[in-house]
C-alpha cells in the first residue's frame, strides 16, 4: 500500500508537477458547474464552437478535460478561458446536457479572484458602478438623443451600485499581463 502511494507521488512530481487533484471537486462545489461529471469528451462542444473554428487553441472539450485532470493553474491562468463568445452552441448541442458555458463562468470567476481577470471586464464593472450601464453617458451619441427627442438617461444608479458592491466584484484587480 505504502509502496503504491509512494510510486504515485513520484509520478506526479516527475511528470505532472502542477496538478491539483481536487480541482474538479472544487469546481463542482459551485451549483453552476453541475454536469461536469457527465462529460464523456465527445467533442460536440468544440465542433460547434465558432471561436474554436477560427482559433483552435480555444477548445471547450480540452478545457473540460484539463479541469477533470486537476490542471488548476494552467486553466485559471490561461488567457483563452476568456475567449468564449457566449453563443451557447456548446450547451445547446451537448448530448449529455453539460452546460459548458456555465462551467466556464465558474472557472472565470475563480480566475478573477486569483488576479487573472482581463482589464476590459474589470473596467466595465467600474463603469457600471458609475453610470448603471457599461458605457459612459458622455458619448457623442448620447448627446444626439436630445435631437432625436429620445428621453434622457439617468446618470446614477445607486441601487445597482449598492447591489454590485455587495458582491465585492468591484474589488477585483485586473491581471498584470493584461489580455
Amino acid at each position: 500500500m505504502n509502496k503504491i502511494q509512494k510510486t504515485t507521488e513520484i509520478k506526479q512530481s516527475a511528470y505532472f508537477p502542477e496538478l491539483t487533484p481536487n480541482f474538479k471537486s472544487e469546481v463542482l462545489t459551485h451549483p453552476d458547474a453541475r454536469g461536469l461529471n457527465a462529460c464523456f469528451s465527445c467533442g460536440t462542444c468544440s465542433a460547434g464552437c465558432p471561436i474554436h473554428e477560427v482559433f483552435p487553441e480555444y477548445n471547450p472539450k480540452k478545457l473540460a478535460k484539463m479541469v477533470r485532470l486537476g490542471m488548476r493553474k494552467r486553466v485559471l491562468s490561461s488567457p483563452y478561458i476568456w475567449y468564449c463568445a457566449t453563443c451557447h452552441n456548446c450547451e445547446q448541442r451537448c448530448p449529455q446536457n453539460v452546460k459548458f458555458f456555465n462551467i466556464l463562468n465558474v472557472l472565470k470567476n475563480t480566475a478573477a479572484k486569483e488576479g487573472y481577470a482581463p482589464t476590459a471586464w474589470v473596467e466595465q464593472i467600474r463603469q457600471v458602478i458609475k453610470t448603471g450601464i457599461v458605457f459612459s453617458t458622455e458619448d457623442n451619441w448620447v448627446k444626439k438623443r436630445e435631437e432625436l427627442s429620445l428621453p434622457s438617461l439617468k446618470e446614477e444608479h445607486p441601487k445597482l451600485k449598492k447591489i454590485i458592491e455587495s458582491t465585492c466584484i468591484d474589488k477585483i484587480k485586473p491581471r498584470a499581463d493584461s489580455v
Partner: protein, 291 residues
C-alpha cells in the same frame, strides 16, 4: 392594451440610438405601449464573467423594477432578453430566489417571479402577428434581398425561451422579413455568432468571425443584413469598416434593424422616424429602391 416596460440595455441608448428611435416608432404604430423605467440598468450579462452572483443580482433587480410597475419587459437587445430570461430560470429555485431577495431588500426591491421578458421581434411576432403586419405594408419591398441574422441570445439557451425558436433552424425573423415583402435570403453561415461578447477581450477573433459571414454573403446579391441586436449591428457595420481598413477589403453591406425594415414597409420616414441616416454604412440604395 399591449403595455411593456422598455428595457434599453447599455449599447442601444448610448451607441445606436437609431435602433431605439425606429423601435419606438414601430411600437407606437402597432399600439404597443412602452413605459420607460429610468432606474433600469445593465442586465448583468457581462458581469457573470467576474461574478455569476453579481450578474444574477443585476438581472434580478431589473426584473423587480418592472414587477413593481406590474409590467412585462420588452427588450431591444437580444443579449438582454437572454440574460434576463436566464435569470428568471435560475430564480425558479427557491433557495436562489430567497438569497437574491435578501440582497434586493437592502435596496427596497423584491423579485416575486411574475414578470415575463420578450425581445421586440418576439412581441411583434406573437402579439401583432404576421398577417396583421402584411396588411399594414404600404411600400413595395419585393426588390430587396435581405440576409436575416438572429443573434445568439435571441435563440439560446432554448430552455430560457420556452421553446419559442429552434436554435439550429430558426424561422421567426425569416417570417417577419417576408411579411414586409422583402426576400429573406438563405445562406450557409446563418447561425454564425457575431463574436460581440468577446470583442472587449480580443478584436481579432471578432474580425475573423465577421469576415466569414461577410464573405459568405458577398456573392449572394444581398441588399442588406437585417438583424435585431445592437451588438451584432456594431460587429457587422462598424467592424466591417475596420476590416476594410485593416485588411484592404472592399465590403460595403448595409446593416438594418428589423424595426427599420418594417418601418420602411409600413410608411415611416427613413430619417425622421427610423434614423437610417445615422448608420455607419448608409443604406441609400435601399431607400432609393423602395421610396
Amino acid at each position: 392594451m399591449n403595455r411593456h416596460a422598455l428595457f434599453l440595455g447599455c449599447t442601444t441608448p448610448t451607441k445606436v440610438p437609431q435602433y431605439e428611435l425606429a423601435s419606438r416608432w414601430v411600437c407606437k404604430y402597432f399600439e404597443i405601449n412602452l413605459v420607460d423605467i429610468e432606474e433600469f440598468g445593465c442586465c448583468g450579462i457581462n458581469q457573470v464573467n467576474l461574478s455569476i452572483e453579481a450578474g444574477l443580482l443585476m438581472a434580478a433587480s431589473n426584473l423587480a423594477l418592472a414587477e413593481d410597475k406590474r409590467l412585462d419587459i420588452l427588450t431591444l437587445c437580444a443579449a438582454c432578453a437572454g440574460a434576463l430570461a436566464e435569470a428568471i430560470e435560475k430564480l425558479k429555485d427557491k433557495s436562489t430566489k430567497d438569497r437574491v431577495n435578501e440582497k434586493l431588500r437592502e435596496v427596497n426591491l423584491e423579485y416575486k417571479g411574475s414578470v415575463k421578458v420578450r425581445h421586440i421581434s418576439r412581441v411583434l411576432y406573437e402579439d401583432i402577428g404576421i398577417e396583421k403586419i402584411k396588411k399594414e405594408v404600404k411600400r413595395d419591398l419585393s426588390g430587396l434581398r435581405a440576409a436575416p441574422h438572429y443573434g445568439c441570445h435571441y435563440l439560446k439557451p432554448k430552455s430560457a425561451f420556452g421553446g419559442f425558436e429552434e436554435p439550429d433552424n430558426p424561422r421567426t425573423l425569416h417570417e417577419l422579413v417576408s411579411a414586409t415583402g422583402a426576400q429573406p435570403v438563405k445562406y450557409e453561415t446563418l447561425n454564425l455568432c457575431c463574436g460581440g461578447k468577446v470583442f472587449p477581450v480580443s478584436s481579432d477573433l471578432v474580425y475573423s468571425l465577421v469576415q466569414k459571414k461577410l464573405d459568405d454573403l458577398a456573392d449572394k446579391e444581398i441588399d442588406a443584413m437585417v438583424l435585431q441586436c445592437q451588438t451584432c449591428y456594431l460587429m457587422y457595420s462598424d467592424r466591417q469598416k475596420e476590416i476594410n481598413q485593416k485588411y484592404g477589403e472592399q465590403y460595403n453591406l448595409p446593416v438594418l434593424f428589423y424595426p427599420q425594415l418594417l418601418g420602411l414597409a409600413i410608411g415611416a420616414d427613413p430619417v425622421k422616424d427610423l434614423g437610417l441616416n445615422l448608420h455607419m454604412i448608409l443604406p441609400d440604395k435601399i431607400i432609393a429602391k423602395v421610396i
